[in-house]
Amino acid sequence: MINSGDTAWVLISSALVLLMTPGLAFFYGGMVRKKNILSVLMQCFIIMCVLSLQWVLFGYSLSFAPNQGFWGGFNWVGLKNVGFTPYPDYAATIPHQAFMIFQAMFAIITPALIIGAFAERMKFSAFLLFTLLWATFVYDPLCHWVWGMGGWLRNLGALDFAGGTVVHINAGIAALVTALILGKRVNLDKNVPTPHNMPFVVLGTGLLWFGWFGFNAGSALAANGLAVNAFVVTNTAAAAAGLSWAFVEWIHNGKPTIFGVCSGAVAGLVAITPAAGFVSVIPAIIIGLLVSVFSFIAVTVIKPKLGYDDSLDAFGVHCVGGIWGALATGLFASKLVNPAGADGLFFGNPKQLIIQAAAVLVTIGYTFIVTLVIYKLVDLLIGVRVKKEEELIGLDLTQHHERAYTVLE
């Protein structure tokens, strides 16, 4: 039975989630040097093009068509059998295609998150091939395991409300793999590249925060109390994390920065994502306050120590935040918030934490290995990294023959 309120909310949420990808483009674009901003914007926008097509052609079927196996199978290829009547196993009150297009936006932003790791040095052609293969062989299967009918992590009882494992840990681990094997940017030791347009970072953060209401509250798939809970805890966790990062910086570096507040807010949004439909507002504050501490340590202590060049901290923010969020769901989840969920450790069910940890480990292991294989394959076929001279000149000119800013006029 289609409910018009639910349908309207899911359609609006889909649009909100789509807007996160341009938001991410500016969040990342502001952080790179000015010779590379177009390459980052281009990568984000071309993902919107490529994955929108991949999703309706076969991605949605591989992810969500009911099946016990590795993938969702091919029954819904080309949106065959995906119509305007509800598919109750996923969402009983909205047209099946509304659920499909909502999920499309998640499939788009997830590979876009990885861009932060290899920014400023990846060949555009290699990026395209890598992204298509990664979406098909990493995102789609994982999405099926966690959210699809017959998915084994779903059957295990793992809770992931809006994509902590599927989106953030997944993209974060892929980011780490690509940063590790792609190597550092040229001259990194001599010169720390400084963000070329901090206001873009702030603009992007604003768009992400705004869009995230669709991401999390939309994941209720209905305009109901659960959506409201997700909305409230999402805003609360982002606020707590933005504030927390500022104070950590203030103590550690002597001054709070707007870059820090933005990084914290995004980390908070990441961490609350798996928990948004299962926890109440006080746990959301705790999740937010702590995620900034963990991510701050990851990007300022662990990254320099291990020496990988995750250019824009896709791993430090998304993977670390995602892992914390997934585990925190196992701590703070409560059936009082969502009777369809489960209780966490603090509500008398320690087993949930173990299930959450298992889902995290499976995601890390699977993504790590398959991303590595895909990277090596693409490197073998067309070469992943741009030439040194091209990197020095910048990707905007060498990959796209255009530049963002003119000197004269």
Binding site: T194, T257, G260, V299, T300, P304
Partner: protein, 113 residues
């Protein structure tokens, strides 16, 4: 004829301009440049990554003068830009071979003012 090139702190541009107008030096060219001398910059920190020894923003002035305006111009720049701290900047004075006003094609000292 002399060409004066001065490198000053961006925050001092307004005061230097005022002092120059007071000496009736009205023709200047201003550009934003990057550089540093002995002054250490303000440390920038991005997500904990410290960025020291960076090039600093400076203002570069170019002023062409006849001999009788040389000392008043130098004094005006010093008065406007001096704080006594490192990083106040430098003034270079060069001999100027020729000056041509494009509109009238006048040459030499008359073309400067």
């Amino acid at each position: 004829m002399k060409l004066i090139i001065a490198i000053i702190q961006p925050s001092k541009l307004e005061e230097v301009k005022e002092e120059l107008y007071r000496q009736e030096v009205n023709l200047i060219t201003v550009s934003e440049v990057m550089g540093h001398g002995r002054q250490k910059g303000i440390t920038e920190i991005y997500r904990g990554a410290k960025e020291t020894g960076n090039l600093l923003r400076k203002i570069r002035l170019e002023i062409a003068v006849n001999e009788d305006f040389l000392e008043p111009t130098i004094k005006a720049i010093v008065k406007g830009a001096k704080t006594g701290e490192t990083g106040d900047g430098k003034i270079f004075v060069l001999d100027l071979k020729e000056c041509i006003r494009i509109r009238t094609e006048e040459r030499g000292g008359v073309a400067i003012g």
